[in-house]
Amino acid sequence: MEKEKQVQIMTQQIADFVSYMARVLPDDVEAKIKELAADEKNPLAKTIYETMKTNMQLAAELKRPSCQDTGVLQYWVKCGSNYPLIGELEEILREATFKATQEAPLRHNCVETFDEYNTGKNIGTSVPYIMWDIVPGRDDVEIFPYMAGGGCSLPGSGKTLMPGEGYEGVAKFVLDLMTSYGLNACPPLLVGVGVATSIDTAALFSKKALMRPVSSKNPNEKAAYMEQLLEDGINKLHLGPQGMGGDKSVMGVNIENGARHPSVISVAVNVGCWNHRRGHLVFTKDGACQVLSHSGVKF
């Protein structure tokens, strides 16, 4: 019975948080957008930043999703191997997604492939998608809910390069995307880059990169250096908000990486739009919840 109660409370807390996340930006994103807006000189870009600011105020005030596209829900979970609800977690996340869909309300964005119908619940086959990492010995769980909108999912792509193309090829792949599909994905973007062995590993890392705070750095010195080079490089393109021109271009570039086969180097890119709806929660084994991404939210 106690377990049942814990499941019930946790489900509601996640549902409430997802609804909240649909209208309030995480602290790191809010701070970065503020900074970019303050530094902007281009009048057209300033108008757009002004619009963004008004919108976020209205979303919080009227308690409505700040963007109509509340995405397909994805959750990255870093689950302790001793976390007691490990077996219930998937069902908790599905149920929380359904609840938030009704309560927020969120747009119905789950279309079953091949049968091509909208489930109307935001849950379906592998939706919400859950990325599992098991952390040996820990008894808590970290959950990163993410709303993957259509606009910012569209640029998603990857390529397995030959080592001869090197990191130069990686840089070119990222920048080419910025000046093509990236323009429509609601810049200033957070750019997630995965560098690893086969294409699936690179793709997974590129999404995990978006779960990292905006101004964080890759622990590897060279990878961090490349993050900075790419960020500065993309900023020099002056893409501005909405890709319509401005002083800067991106919120940041996050690279996540893994080792590779000597014969290949894979790169994948996933981007987060300026309205980057990503959360970070921790639940202890007893069910106490802490919100790390959004200050001022308490359960």
Binding site: T51, T70, Y167, A171
Partner: protein, 205 residues
């Protein structure tokens, strides 16, 4: 600077002096219209159930809810533009058939839309995306809903709006395309930027 406001019905002459990069606002009516509606009209030859001649369409899939105590009245919760480029393959025929004057969406559009804007005197405009609550508060009322069988995002929601915007002109009636012009600049700079980055990322040696 004074706010430039267009009111539906809009004539070709109203758009004559408006240039790519200008900011305008819209008062009157706008109907959401996206992928399937374009397909039905252009590929299956079906007539749009709403007359948008001299009017405006919005590439968008909103969140709406029923007005309390009503069965067929809706209010706008959250509405914002979706990627216009998805409608590019249909837009020339669409403008030709419907006589629409303003196409509001997100990001740029291509040569089909440019040609339509020039030949039939229409504009493509960008509502800064991700600002769906602001846009919803600029909708005074949803006056009708058509093709509801397509589901919430694809239904044609006809909205009465007041000073709906900011709307940034991406394609004007003279064939100027803001995004295409910008892309030329971006791509030229990109080559220089890459040459510089290459020098610093020779990690495989």
């Amino acid at each position: 600077m004074e706010k430039k406001i267009l009111t539906t019905p809009i004539s070709a002459a109203d758009l004559e002096d408006i240039k790519a990069g200008d900011i305008i606002y819209l008062t009157g009516h706008i109907t959401t219209c996206r992928d399937v509606a374009h397909r039905r009209l252009v590929e299956y030859g079906r007539k749009l159930p709403v007359d948008v001649r001299d009017g405006a369409i919005l590439h968008a899939g909103p969140i709406v809810r029923k007005v309390d105590g009503s069965d067929d009245r809706y209010e706008m919760v959250s509405v914002g533009p979706t990627t216009s480029m998805r409608m590019e393959k249909f837009e020339y025929e669409f403008v030709k058939e419907t006589g629409v004057r303003l196409i509001v969406g997100k990001g740029g559009m291509g040569p089909n839309t440019e040609r339509a804007c020039q030949e039939f005197k229409a504009l493509h405009l960008v509502f800064p995306a991700g600002n769906a609550v602001l846009a919803a508060t600029e909708v005074e009322e949803i006056e009708s809903a058509n093709w509801k069988e397509l589901g919430m995002p694809e239904t044609l929601w006809t909205c009465r709006v007041k000073e709906f915007g900011p709307l940034i002109v991406s394609i004007d009636t003279h064939g100027n395309n803001w995004f295409e012009q910008k892309k030329v600049e971006y791509n030229a700079t990109k080559e220089e930027v890459l040459e510089d980055i290459y020098k610093h990322v020779q990690f495989i040696k």
